[in-house]
Each structure stands twice: as structure tokens, then as C-alpha cells.
């Protein structure tokens, strides 16, 4: 039971990270119908930027651990958002009216470009996050001890998701994003600046992905320039699991996938851990291609 509970909380924390990345995929897909293959690498950029800022600015020494982490997270999110906007401007905007295959190839190219640029800057070896940023304590939860990092990650990702949900549902820009996702042309006719909506999507998604990258660095302590690929693929699986284009779907899908993967790795086989996520993906596409909360995807007319 103890083991099960530990795996469950671990799965929830990892699921929170997947959900944050999945939101970036699902928002871009919702508006542009494009799988942003470079999104996983934006996530990696987030964790490398976090490492650089952490080791160069000594924020937690100056501001204390709590405020230091918050300021660090905000800086990382801001910077990754800028990279995301730049990516959209350079690699995707010129291809807005091209066949969809071209945009996919451009996204793959961007992914290769980002991961190899990181490799050139930081080297191919694993980079280690400094220890002791967050106190290594465990929280007593009904007699079970859960590491503080896990609780913080899950808490922070839930807070960010609720904030995003409120933003999408309640604000004017959020409404514009939803409108553009349903029908771009109609949205344009209603006076919505679709370019601005797309820019917003490419600011918000990468910001959340960058935050997730920072969380992975803090949680696992080591990062690598290729890790964005696996995280990105799993987060995309999570987005499909919940129903692509659907924002609450990405949240549910991410957390569910994290839990399935953690429990599967613990009780079935650790060697097949990565295959479990893809098995879930194929299974869900066969039995319920719309995802748990999603739109129709079959190509039947």
C-alpha cells in the first residue's frame, strides 16, 4: 500500500509536468492544426535556461528559497515564451498557407535545430542541477511521507492550469483564442486579429513548457539536450488521450498518463516504461480516437 501510494504521488507529479507540456501542444493544434514538434525542445530550453539562471544569479541566496524559485520560474517562462514567439515568426508564419506536410517538416527542422544548438552551447553530457535549492524534506500526508518537491510540482502545475483555464474562459483574449480554434475565417470576419491570437498561443504554450522544463530539472536533478523528445512525445500522447485541441482534456490526459506510466513501470515492467505510454496512445486511437473529452478526428465525410 505504501509502495502504491508512493508510485501514485510520483505519477501525479510527472503527470502534472506532462499536462503542462501537453497544453502547449493542444493549444497550437487547436488554432493552427499543426503538431509543433519543436515544443519538446522549448521545454528542454526551459530547463537549461533554469540551470543557467540558477547558477549565475544566486536568486535563492538573495531572495530566499521560496521567492527565489518563483522569480526564477517567471524569468524562465518569459524567456521561453520569447523563443516560442520567435519560432512562430520564423518557422511557421511563412508556411501558414502551405500544405500541412511542409509545416510538419519545418517543425521537425526547428526541433533538430534547437536540440543541436543546446548541445553546442552546453555539451552533450548530462548537466546537473545544484542540490539544495528546495529543502529535501518530506510532507506528512495522513501518515505517509511524500517528498516536498513532488507536492510543489503538482501544486504549481495545478495552479497554472487553473489560471490558464480561467484566462481562456473568462477574458476577451481567451474567448478570441477559443473562437479562432473553432473557425479561423469566421473569427477573422468577426474582427478578431488571428495573428495576435496565434502569437498569444505561442507565448502561453512555450511559457508553460518552459516551466515544466524547470520542474524536471528540480525534480530529477539532471537534464540532457535530447530529453525534450521523449517528454514531448509523451505530452503529445497525453493531449491525444484527453482529446486534442481541448484544454481541460490535456490536463486530464497528462495527469492520467503520468499515473498510468508510474503504476505500469512499478507493477508491470520498468524496462517497458516508455512503451507503455505509446501502447496507451495506440489503444486510445483504436477504441476512442476522439480522446476522453475530444472532438471528432476520423476523416470520414
Amino acid at each position: 500500500m505504501e509502495e502504491f501510494f508512493q508510485q501514485l504521488t510520483n505519477g501525479l507529479a510527472v503527470g502534472g509536468i506532462y499536462a503542462l507540456i501537453a497544453l502547449g501542444y493542444t493549444m497550437v493544434y487547436g488554432v493552427l492544426k499543426l503538431i509543433n514538434f519543436a515544443h519538446g525542445d522549448l521545454f528542454t530550453i526551459g530547463s537549461y535556461l533554469g540551470l543557467t539562471l540558477l547558477t549565475s544569479l544566486f536568486l535563492s541566496d538573495r531572495l530566499g528559497p521560496g521567492a527565489g524559485i518563483v522569480v526564477l520560474a517567471l524569468m524562465v517562462m518569459g524567456l521561453v515564451a520569447l523563443v516560442g514567439a520567435l519560432l512562430e515568426r520564423v518557422a511557421y508564419r511563412p508556411l501558414r498557407h502551405s500544405p500541412r506536410l511542409s509545416a510538419v517538416v519545418s517543425a521537425l527542422g526547428a526541433s533538430i535545430f534547437f536540440s543541436n544548438t543546446l548541445m553546442l552551447i552546453y555539451g552533450a553530457r548530462f548537466q546537473v542541477y545544484p542540490q539544495g535549492i528546495l529543502p529535501k524534506t518530506a510532507i506528512d500526508l495522513f501518515g505517509l511521507y511524500v517528498p516536498l518537491v513532488r507536492v510543489l510540482i503538482l501544486g504549481a502545475s495545478v495552479v497554472m492550469m487553473i489560471a490558464l483555464y480561467a484566462f481562456i474562459q473568462k477574458t476577451k483574449i481567451g474567448t478570441a483564442i477559443r473562437a479562432a480554434a473553432i473557425d479561423q475565417d469566421a473569427a477573422r470576419l468577426m474582427g478578431i486579429d488571428v495573428n495576435r491570437v496565434i502569437l498569444m498561443v505561442f507565448l502561453i504554450g512555450p511559457a508553460l513548457g518552459g516551466a515544466a522544463g524547470l520542474m524536471v530539472g528540480l525534480h530529477y536533478g539532471q537534464i540532457n539536450f535530447t530529453m525534450g523528445w521523449v517528454y514531448g512525445l509523451k505530452a503529445f500522447t497525453a493531449a491525444i488521450l484527453g482529446g486534442i485541441g481541448n484544454i481541460p482534456g490535456a490536463m486530464v490526459g497528462g495527469i492520467l498518463l503520468g499515473v498510468i506510466e508510474a503504476l505500469g513501470a512499478a507493477y508491470l515492467s520498468i524496462a517497458w516504461k516508455d512503451a507503455i505510454a505509446f501502447g496507451v496512445l495506440i489503444f486510445i486511437l483504436i477504441v476512442r480516437p476522439t480522446g476522453l473529452l475530444g472532438e471528432r478526428v476520423a476523416e470520414k465525410v
Binding site: L101, I112, F113, G279
Partner: protein, 319 residues
Amino acid sequence: MTEKRFLVYGGVAALLAVCPLFLNAYWTDVLNSIGLYAALGLSLNLIVGHAGLFNLGHAAFYAVGAYTAAILNTKFHIPILALMPLCGLTAGLFALLIARPIIHLRGDYLCIVTIGVGEIVRIALINNVFGITGGANGIFGIARPSLMGWVIRRPQEFFYLIWAFVALTVFLFHRLENSRFGRALNYLREDETAAEGSGIDTAHYKLMAFVLGAAWAGMVGNIYAAKMTIIAPESFSFWESVVMFTLIILGGSGSIPGVLLGAFLIVGLPEVFRGFTNARMMVFGAAMIAMMIFRTGGILPARPRRYELLKEEAAEEST
């Protein structure tokens, strides 16, 4: 015009055929890799270029073919080239099994499933599935191939085996392109609804293209196993699928000369620029983006189909 093109292609083919006579073993081996990727690219071109299906897991089918050859050759000592049809069959059946339930889904879903399948196959090979794939070390001790009693061993000899296979592939796929099947694929790529409306069973044709391309990759896997004599899961990573995919897109999707040129550029150029190993992938990524923006169809794009009017019809029209 067509005659001029034939001359150019014939000249290039003749030049290629004499290459092993004055190139050293290293560069001949580079040409061999290019040949393997050209054949793989042509097989994937049927799926991506003609049917317009995104397949980013082609390495999985290549792996199935290579492992079929390796396992049967090392366990039962069947001559490896004789296994080629069987390798195609297993890869094709595997593709059928995977694609059948999802072929009707929207394109990018197929793309993501093929990525997932590629990863699952690689993980299964590493985990020594059924105890026959040799785990992370792979399978070694595959016998050298022989053709009518002549053992193929040196890179120069492999050169002719591989490029003869490429030539066969080019010939067959060129015929296929201009067949009813090829036209149907292009039609459904351009407008699926219209194709369906004209009586083309789109799901059937897509599935056929997918299975045929996968089966061909399985046969290339056989040659790869014969050439290397050792195969391991890293040779079939996602990266391999990306290389096959991008060589098609950069060369010219749906165009046979384009795919061949793409194989030369993507596999050959990195060998030429070995000194800049680290920066070359970054440049490659940037080149992919630039290519899509400035020359979407690839370097040698597919030529639009043209048909000569029959003589009588032409005469009728002019009167």
C-alpha cells in the same frame, strides 16, 4: 526534352557504375549507405510522397525485415538473400496489422502512431522480446550473402548488389507511379473527398500503399543485415526514420530523381563535412526550415503529369 533527360540520367547511372573501380573502400562504402537510404527513401516515398500519409516510423519496418533475416539466417542457416521475399512479407504483415485499425484517421494521427510504433519496436528489440532478438547487443554472426556460388564480401561487390536493387526499385516504382494504382494514390492525396466520390476506395488504397512501402523497407532490411553481419537496435532508432523522411522532403516528395538526390545530399554530405560534426546537425535543422519556406516541393520536385493526346483524338480536335 524527354530524350535529353534520358541522356542525363543514363550518364549519371554510367558514372555511378564505374565509381567503385577508382574509389577506395571507404568511399565505396559511403556510396553503399547512400544506396540503402535511396532504396528506403523510395519505399517511404510511396507512402509519404504518393499517398500523402505521414510515416515517421519507417525504421520499424526496416528493423522487422533485418531481424527476420538475421534470426532465420543465424538459427536455421538459410542463405540470407533467399530470405528476401520472406522479410518483405513479415514487414508487410506487421504494417498491415498496425495500419489497418487507424488508416481512416486524420493524417497527423497516423504520423504520431507511426512514431509510437517505431519506439515500441525499438524498446521491444532492446528488451529481447521472445528471447530471439539478442537484446541491446543485437544479433551477430550473420552469414555473408552469396549469389550463384559467389560470396559477396568486399564493399565493391556490395556496391553492385545494393545499386542493382536500387535500379530494380526505381524501375518498379516508376511503373507503379504511372499505373492506375499510382494515379489513384495521387488523386486521394490531392483531394480525398473527390477521390472517394469518383469511386476510389481511399482506405483500401492508403492501406495498400502503406503495406507495400513497409514490405519494400523490410527487403532493404535484409540487404542491410547481409552487409553489416551484425545488427543492433540502435540502427533502427527514430533518427533513422527522420533521415528517411527528410531526404524525401528535401529531394522532392513524389519524385524518384528527387529522392535519389536527397539520399546523396543527406547521407553523402555529412561524410564530406566530417570536420564540422557538431555544427552540422544544427545547420541541417535550419536548412529544413529554409527549404520548406523557399522551395516547398524539394530540390527536384515531382513533375506534373502530362499525357499526349492520341493521334486520332488530336486530329479530331483540330477539325
